[in-house]
Subunit: 344 residues, 4 copies
Amino acid sequence: MSQETLRLGILGAGRIGKIHIENLANRIRGAAVAALADISPEELAAVAARFGISKTYADYRQVLELAEVDAVVVATPTNTHYRMILDAAAAGKHIFCEKPIDLALERISEINRAVALRGVQLMVGFNRRFDPNFRKVHEMVRAGRVGEPQILRITSRDPAPPPETYIRASGGLFLDMTIHDFDMARYLVASEVVEVYARAAVLVDPVFEQAGDWDTALVTLTFANGAMGAIDNSRKAVYGYDQRVEVFGSGGMVTVANNMPDTHVHSDRTGVHSALPLNFFMQRYTESYRNEMQAFVEAIRAGEPVPVDGQDGLRAVEIGLAAIRSARENRPVRLTQIQEGVSA
Amino acid sequence: MSQETLRLGILGAGRIGKIHIENLANRIRGAAVAALADISPEELAAVAARFGISKTYADYRQVLELAEVDAVVVATPTNTHYRMILDAAAAGKHIFCEKPIDLALERISEINRAVALRGVQLMVGFNRRFDPNFRKVHEMVRAGRVGEPQILRITSRDPAPPPETYIRASGGLFLDMTIHDFDMARYLVASEVVEVYARAAVLVDPVFEQAGDWDTALVTLTFANGAMGAIDNSRKAVYGYDQRVEVFGSGGMVTVANNMPDTHVHSDRTGVHSALPLNFFMQRYTESYRNEMQAFVEAIRAGEPVPVDGQDGLRAVEIGLAAIRSARENRPVRLTQIQEGVSA
Amino acid sequence: MSQETLRLGILGAGRIGKIHIENLANRIRGAAVAALADISPEELAAVAARFGISKTYADYRQVLELAEVDAVVVATPTNTHYRMILDAAAAGKHIFCEKPIDLALERISEINRAVALRGVQLMVGFNRRFDPNFRKVHEMVRAGRVGEPQILRITSRDPAPPPETYIRASGGLFLDMTIHDFDMARYLVASEVVEVYARAAVLVDPVFEQAGDWDTALVTLTFANGAMGAIDNSRKAVYGYDQRVEVFGSGGMVTVANNMPDTHVHSDRTGVHSALPLNFFMQRYTESYRNEMQAFVEAIRAGEPVPVDGQDGLRAVEIGLAAIRSARENRPVRLTQIQEGVSA
Amino acid sequence: MSQETLRLGILGAGRIGKIHIENLANRIRGAAVAALADISPEELAAVAARFGISKTYADYRQVLELAEVDAVVVATPTNTHYRMILDAAAAGKHIFCEKPIDLALERISEINRAVALRGVQLMVGFNRRFDPNFRKVHEMVRAGRVGEPQILRITSRDPAPPPETYIRASGGLFLDMTIHDFDMARYLVASEVVEVYARAAVLVDPVFEQAGDWDTALVTLTFANGAMGAIDNSRKAVYGYDQRVEVFGSGGMVTVANNMPDTHVHSDRTGVHSALPLNFFMQRYTESYRNEMQAFVEAIRAGEPVPVDGQDGLRAVEIGLAAIRSARENRPVRLTQIQEGVSA
């Protein structure tokens, strides 16, 4: 398409939708919000007023009918993605969709086929790939600065558990939270995961057990290139949002630490003290949300492939499903066992 | 004044003016750009187009005549500040002015008197006070976390010298560069500087000597409360923009380090390596520019005193003039010697 | 026994024997080297001369016959430990033995029974427990500073592979190298390991494959108290000896970093650089070797239990054997499966 | 002299004398303690017994008469150095003397002439030159890693003031404490100090004022090569012994931080916490005391110049006297003004 401004329809004006709208309004070059849909009239009116969006709809399909909309941002609950993406693809709109695309492999595959058939692009919102820290690790690995990757370590811990209603609709620890780490693993090691062993437990709050979920996990990944990865997760790190990775290889190691609100160090009689990490994903990943949307806009405008596509979305869910099965059965699970289940 | 949106006229569309305009357009709550003046028609047109500013003028006085302008941002060269501020005050506009207000104490005093007389407020752009790192140090000192301040250390080094034309018009090292550190010293120690000893040299580039200036300095400050301060400056730190402070006192110490673009640490056969500090003031102080303008807008809207006023602007220039005299005569200079010169 | 000087017979004057002799000669309070045995006459003569040891023997049994020897230090190859310990216990000597006690659980159990029967004490040389970093983590966990331990992470990587002859006699990665980490896991979490899942590969050097061994591993531990642990190992970290641990729990986290030869940080045009970690176990663990021997001497002199005993030595080997079976069969192995094998 | 063991007579069995004796007994290669003198019979007996020194004397001159003594270590109060060094030189003994040699320039010059005349060597105990951190900075500067040195920063703060009796006999802040930093400045910048400006105050304890002394100071040094240096001192840093340096130059910067007892970092709800620096000079400078004595022994045995000689001792006192005069008169003082005073 041409280099003109990309006109976006936003589907969903909730927490994540607002992040994208605000970025598009203020910080993204080459794009504009052309329309907004949300099922809540109040939310719709409030957000539209705040950002000066004139075209608003209760039904997302009305956005898809607008000729002036080039692409849509799907920022609604996971269980609505499938229908919206298929409809958007049918309407010839490019699509940016929050992760996960869906919880069922069959539906993701169907989405990927539909998108290919319609000739539109689908980008999946694995925003952490666009965080300056993780991108730097990715670039250094790709540039050979650690030699052959051999060991990957990811620590990913939330500051506090989400509300119980969120937990019950989330798809569970591995598809809601670890899925970011599964995508990160593929991004950093640049090799496909072939086997998963997951150990999971409820150590934080019994509410997870009641929801048939876990709150703490250790996952071992085996990659096609022989490398191994260890992910650890907790739903509750009292010191804040803990997001670190390390790639070790034949030529060296690269690690990234948490982001801090300031660099102060205070020394007194009792010790040396510094600030806690940024405590919430919207502060921690401010830049990554902006960067990912900028990347989507630029790829679509330039007619180039989006940097995170439906296959990436599929792979992460496959690994998540393998982790669930592994944790339930306490045995390593090969990705092919998950993938065969789909084709069957 | 009321809690309505503060309407700002921007005087000067150069490098620093653009920073303020962009922040006001996208990131400052409660304010809007109502008009813009610049002597360059091209610059004026380009900036107005980019940010959708409809009222533009070659002559700043036309901005002052607009009833809908509540306040002005003076972002023009230092030698124009005096006239503009007096005119703005006469027009009843509140004023935000870049540092330094002026290089002559008499003129700053005249400005401060005029502003008081007209009942408008003048805020001076010592943006570093609004940097999260330095603000944290200030707050911790004020909260008594270091006890009585005894020793202040400021390291302030530029990544590279400015162009020769800039050097010649800058007022020299102490009034152009160290002036930030003089204000920082007052901000962090919360006591007035009473004496200055400055040692300065040309170690970076002979162009400074030709301009009658220096490029490297060590300054010793004595505060009214007995504390002592050491500032070191260089116009050229090959590793980037070096901005650190340390306050030591009877109860402890607080320090802040440089800001980095990412947290990566790379270990290989040769050592452990990390990123260079953010290299340019516009990246390093992105947040501080935004925060200072937000503070100005909020103070004016609430009818409360601005956090950095004309007296602060005066004090910093006094210390700068004392430093110049000290470096020239190689002896400590008391601030009263500078201040008496003015009243004489 | 009384508070008199503890008189030690050293069995083995090789690399590790020399470390103990030098510490006993210069840095350990309350002990003296009374006799030395080694099968190499040259080594024996050289070490005896250097440290002024008058009683030297080719046959360790002659040391055991000396009435003036209160205790022995077994610093010979692993396959000799069993015989020496049984003989020393029969002779009524207290025993300090390098890890591992033996590679076979039955023989370790026999040793433990013999030692108990003879009323002597056996301490096993898990020196890392006496490293100031790891001891600090242990103490903080015990003091409740991380709340309930939930996730343990250990990174343990050697700077370079040992010689091939060493590899072939070592018992393999898990019993030679990871065994330190297995003991560290028990020491830090203060709960028994109940299950092990190990993934291992040859990514560094094919010589390991030829020896039926691995050079890279990820191990998942499950503890009796519900906590989980992840250990990663490599035989070759090009940046040096990498020894870090982290304990995460309901109340916080404590981590320790590598030890450096100095604290210098060098900033130049290319980045910010610091020293590589101490590169060899004898430098890295200088203090821990000294501290462990001091702890042995003090426990024996005071008639109190040694801090690391034969049960600790047994547990670490059990975990190692479980890891070997797990890696070979690619499935989690419960410790009871290993322990039953022994009693069977 | 030959490569045989250097036999040392120790003059003074106090705190610092014991450090040297213990190092010589256990950790220094190529030397042995042959005799010990101290005016306290109890101290003499206790130390001799502990380290097995058979020849002990109340009068140091008896040590100088022993043919088997090659060199002496002068570890007595400063006011006794002059007499002892002259006597030792007359007896043909090499001399290691604690800093400062003396508080009077004339007497130091006389000592230096006597030593040269007698053909013996005098090493002065500026032990910090032998600290791994500071030595690394020195080596990097010498290797050109910071380019031309331009700015030196030294922070040197004691954890707590010494007893009042010590203060009164110490020669004052600049000759007792800062003298280490003056020597460090020359060592790191590799250029002579030509001018000193010192600002000093009593901010810690009035006892310093009563003793005619100061407890807090900022010193500006000007070097012959154009570089500038800033030293800050306090007699009381509540967080421990604070010993940092930074050398900045045309090609980069090198800094060193404090030494810590361990590397632990503890994160909890309140912040991120780590250990305080090593708190006492004997722990902080354990290695430097050992290394300096080793360097003395090796230089004397090899017949090569000692690394810190009487001229170094003289220079540091000259700078200290300049600092005292500067602080008293509040003006910069050139070293030539101090040196001329001597020759007059």
